[in-house]
């Protein structure tokens, strides 16, 4: 199997098939990274980000000199693209609190308990939104997208120990914020 570097070399000389192979290899991870930054309300936008990333990579591939891994380069582009989009779509974010509360309040078993759970989840979402982007992405990759620490590290382009410390620090910060809001999870 050809390495990324070989495929990049072929793509730089105009081989579209080599570029298509690079897309096939990296598209799923690019999408996972994008969706981990944008969150589950913005899955279609994450798809657009993934597409936009490959268009950017195609335009810029001639200037890629291979000083870093191709994957690091593409994940860095994805991160910035998704963070930029997030700052634009944040204001479109529906206020989930009321809709969630309305939904759960109509459910049969233990509505009080469900409302309480929904409120707590809303509190978690609010606290998460105040965390640095890398912490949010690490948490979503690990807890939502079932990524291992290795994948978190690779996508965020950091060593594994740093990824572990992102997760640890993010949990600590969340815990402190939830406590401050009066949500103890015992």
């Amino acid at each position: 199997m050809e390495s990324d570097a070989q495929l990049v070399g072929r793509a730089q000389s105009g081989d579209q098939e080599a570029f298509a192979e690079l897309i096939r290899r990296h598209s799923a991870r690019v999408f996972r990274l994008a969706v981990s930054i944008l969150g589950r309300e913005f899955v279609p936008e994450a798809e657009d980000v993934a597409q936009e990333v490959f268009l950017k990579v195609h335009h810029g591939i001639a200037s890629f000199r291979g000083e870093a891994e191709f994957s690091s380069w593409i994940y860095r582009i994805t991160f910035h693209q998704a963070v930029n989009l997030k700052s634009r779509v944040r204001f479109r974010n529906p206020h989930a609190d009321e809709t969630v509360l309305q939904q759960v309040a109509t459910l049969e078993p233990g509505p009080d308990r469900l409302v309480e759970t929904a409120q707590r989840e809303q509190a978690i979402a609010e606290c998460m939104a105040t965390l640095p982007e890398v912490y949010q992405a690490a948490l979503r990759l690990y807890y939502w997208l079932d990524a291992g620490v290795g994948e978190v590290a690779m996508l965020l382009d950091v060593p594994e120990n740093t990824a572990k410390s992102y997760l640890h620090r993010a949990r600590q910060l969340l815990q402190a914020m939830l406590k401050e809001k009066g949500y103890s999870h015992e």
Binding site: V35, F54, I124, W144, R171
Partner: protein
Amino acid sequence: MSERETREAEIESLLRRSMAAPVPSLPPNFDERVLRELREDSQKRERYRRILAAGYGLVSAVTCATIMRGQGLNWGAIGVAILVPLVLVAIVPLARRASHAGLPHGAK
């Protein structure tokens, strides 16, 4: 279990519960969609490049003609002065491509 470990286990389970949602994935035709988009994009760029080059050539030719006419040159000389470089610009890449195509594979 220490109190710290208990707290960590609690936030861990809280996060797992609050993020329990289906894992999204890309549609199966994503690769083709991107490749199609890339093809359309490069066609569009090529078209813009040609329009830009043609516009630039036209403006240059008109400017040169105006200046040369202002210097008193007749239209025949102006036509030759403008057309000769343009013909050369068109012929040189064609000639290069033709000689490249004539070479054996290993000689490229």
